[in-house]
Amino acid sequence: MSDLNADADPDDVAPDTPDFDVEYDVSDTDADPDDDADVAFDLVRPYTESEIIMTTVRIVTPFVLTYGLYLTFHGANSPGGGFQGGALVGVVVLMLAFAFGIQPTREWVGSGLMSGLASGGVLVFVGVGLGTLALGGTFLEYGRYEPFVGPDATKWGMEAIEIGGVSAIVSGVIMGLFFLTAAGYEKAGGEEA
C-alpha cells in the first residue's frame, strides 16, 4: 500500500491499454519496489500477489463460507439471519478477489450471478408478500400459507424471506458494490477512468 504515495496522474498510466485485463494482469511478478515505472503502474492496479494472503484466504475461506451459510439457514433459532449470513457469503468472494486478483474473480463469479441474486431476492420477498395478499390476507401474513405447507407456515414463510430474500439481496449487492468500485467510473465512450 506504500505505492499509493506515488504522485502520478492516473491518465498518464498505460495510455495504450484500455483493455481492463491488462491493468489487473496477475502474471506481472516484478516485485522490485524501486522501479518507478512499476510504482506508477500499481496506482491503477489494487492487487499484489502475496503468498501469505493467498495461503491465509485458502485456509480461512471454507470456514467463513460455512459460518455464513450456518448464520443464514440457522438464523431463526440462533443469533444470525439473512442479513449477517448474506454479508459473510459476499465477503468470501471479496477475500478471494483480494487474494487471487479482482479480474479473475470477477470473471469466475460472473455479473449474472450478482444481479440475479440481488433482483431474485427482491422478487422472492415480493412474491411471498403478494402471495399472502392473493390468499386474502395482509402483506406477509404467513398464516395464509397453512393449507399448503402445514401448521408451521409462519416459520417457513420467515425462512423463505430470510434465505431466499434478504441473504440473496445482501450477498449479491455486496459482491456487486466491490467489483463496481474496483472497476471505477466509465465515461460515455466506454473509456475506463
Partner: protein
C-alpha cells in the same frame, strides 16, 4: 457494565476520535476498522450478538475493503503531520449534539402498542413489561422461531424489513447508474 465493557468503550472512544483526527487516509481506514471491531465486541457484551455479527461483517469487513479499493482509485495526499487540525466550532457543535441526544435518550418515554410507556434506555430494568417483554414472551408461540430478533425482523416488522432489503437493492442499482455501467461487472 463490567471492567471489560468499560475498557471496550474506552477503546471505541479512542479509535473514534483518532478516526476524526488522523490525517492519513489509509491510517483512518485501518483505525475505523478497529473501531468497528470494538463496537462489535461491545454489542456482543451487551447481549446483542445479531447486531455484533453485522457490525463485524459490514463495519469492520466490507466497509474497510470498499474504502481500501476506493483509495486505490484516488490520489493519496502526502501527510507531513500525523494529526489534522481540529475545527473547534464544528467540534463544539458535535459535542453539543451528542450531549442533547444522550439527555433525550435517557429521559423521554417511548409509547408502545400495549398502551404503557417504556424509557428508551430503561427497558432492560423492567423485564416482562413493555414491548420487549411482549416479544420475548410471545414470539415463539406466535411465529415458531426461537430467535426473537428474527421473529421481530421477519414477522412483526416484516414490512419494514422488506423496505430495508429494497433499500440495499436500490443502493446497488444506484452505484451501477452513478458509475455509468450497465451491470455489476
Amino acid at each position: 457494565m463490567s471492567a471489560v465493557g468499560f475498557a471496550l468503550a474506552a477503546f471505541v472512544l479512542v479509535t473514534a476520535v483518532a478516526t476524526a483526527l488522523l490525517r492519513d487516509t489509509l491510517a483512518v481506514i485501518i483505525v475505523f476498522a478497529a473501531y468497528s471491531l470494538g463496537m462489535a465486541l461491545l454489542y456482543t457484551l451487551l447481549l446483542a450478538p445479531d447486531v455484533g455479527i453485522t457490525e463485524a461483517a459490514i463495519g469492520a469487513g466490507v466497509t474497510t475493503i470498499l474504502l481500501l479499493v476506493t483509495i486505490t482509485k484516488t490520489t493519496r495526499p502526502g501527510a507531513e503531520e500525523i494529526f489534522a487540525g481540529v475545527n473547534w466550532p464544528a467540534a463544539t457543535v458535535s459535542a453539543g449534539l451528542g450531549a442533547v441526544l444522550l439527555a433525550i435518550s435517557g429521559s423521554i418515554p417511548a409509547e408502545n402498542f400495549l398502551g404503557g410507556t417504556t424509557p428508551v434506555t430503561g427497558a432492560a430494568g423492567t423485564p416482562g413489561a413493555g414491548v420487549t417483554g411482549h416479544y420475548l414472551a410471545e414470539s415463539y408461540q406466535q411465529t415458531g422461531v426461537q430467535n426473537s430478533v428474527t421473529a421481530v425482523l421477519a414477522s412483526y416488522r416484516g414490512f419494514d424489513t422488506f423496505g430495508e432489503a429494497v433499500v440495499v437493492f436500490a443502493a446497488g442499482v444506484a452505484v451501477v447508474l452513478v458509475l455509468h455501467r450497465g451491470d455489476f461487472l
